[in-house]
Symmetry: C2
Subunit: 174 residues, 2 copies
């Protein structure tokens, strides 16, 4: 009988340093902020860049409502957007809900390459992420409950989604 190989991956802390190679980590902590509008508004400035202009792309704003998943989570598929960045910002951060982020570097070219180079993060409350153009990521994984996200990404000509099904057993946990 052959052995079933299971790869287990635990999340690592979500911070600027750990997420840098994958894109922007959006947080209010340590954000550059200043008063505008005669002092009545605090602007937490440029938490993320948006990169959608390749091949005449435009930026659009959408809302994603993600069904709930639980940990441990079995990886199903990884995808990437070769023509633009994609930003996720939780709506209702006051509810403090969590979501799971699983990424692999844009340089990966195969399933094996991806599963050998995975990083997992758990975001909570306001914390958002921008995936750089081409960075592999699992589609949205809300944890515990349905969760809504503001998504800023690219609309335009060309194929902007590559997918690789994950056939091996990869389990992500806390």
């Amino acid at each position: 009988m052959g052995q079933i190989k299971v790869k287990s991956i635990n999340s690592i802390p979500l911070n600027h340093q750990n997420f840098e190679r994958f894109g922007d980590f959006l947080t209010l902590e340590d954000a550059n902020h200043f008063k505008i509008n005669g002092g009545s508004t605090d602007r937490f400035h440029a938490l993320s860049q948006v990169d959608t202009s390749t091949q005449d792309g435009k930026t659009i704003i959408s809302m994603f409502r993600g069904q709930a998943f639980n940990l441990p989570f079995a990886l199903k598929v990884m995808e990437r957007h070769p023509l633009g960045s994609q930003t996720f910002i939780p709506l209702n951060p006051s509810l403090g809900q969590r979501y799971l982020i699983v990424v692999a570097p844009a340089e990966c070219v195969s399933e094996e390459d991806i599963t050998n180079n995975l990083s997992a993060f758990i975001a909570q409350g306001f914390e958002g992420v921008t995936y750089k153009k081409g960075v592999w990521h699992h589609p949205l994984i809300s944890l515990d409950q349905i969760n809504d996200f503001i998504v800023v990404d690219r609309s335009g000509p060309g194929n902007n989604c590559d997918e690789i099904p994950i056939s091996s057993s990869v389990i992500i946990d806390n």
Copy 2:
């Protein structure tokens, strides 16, 4: 003795038709939505366009925390961004907070022109707005309580803010 002239303006319903000349009205009601990610995510697609590429502008995502105002509200200043659109989306729509929107067409060239062509709207819950490039608007007016907004606008070279102080007495109410 001279008479003090006071202009009073009441809000009108916020919907696609009434807001069309000023920009996009972001709402989940009647939005184009469809399943993605193998059915686990509902995408409410392209609720708004973003227009920031004039003069090498880039799109950035920020968070605005607006102090609370009450109705009736006395207009203080109107501003516009001649080089790009600006989108406001309330964070924490589940709290159902309100904010006041006061706009005038981009064609206006003077204070008198603006105050003769004002429209006011009250947004609630998820409802967001995108001001088109050049549309006059009052800076953020959260109502009742402090409120947080995701803001998508332009970063780049050039002067992207015109302001006109409102010296006449203009009062906005429900």
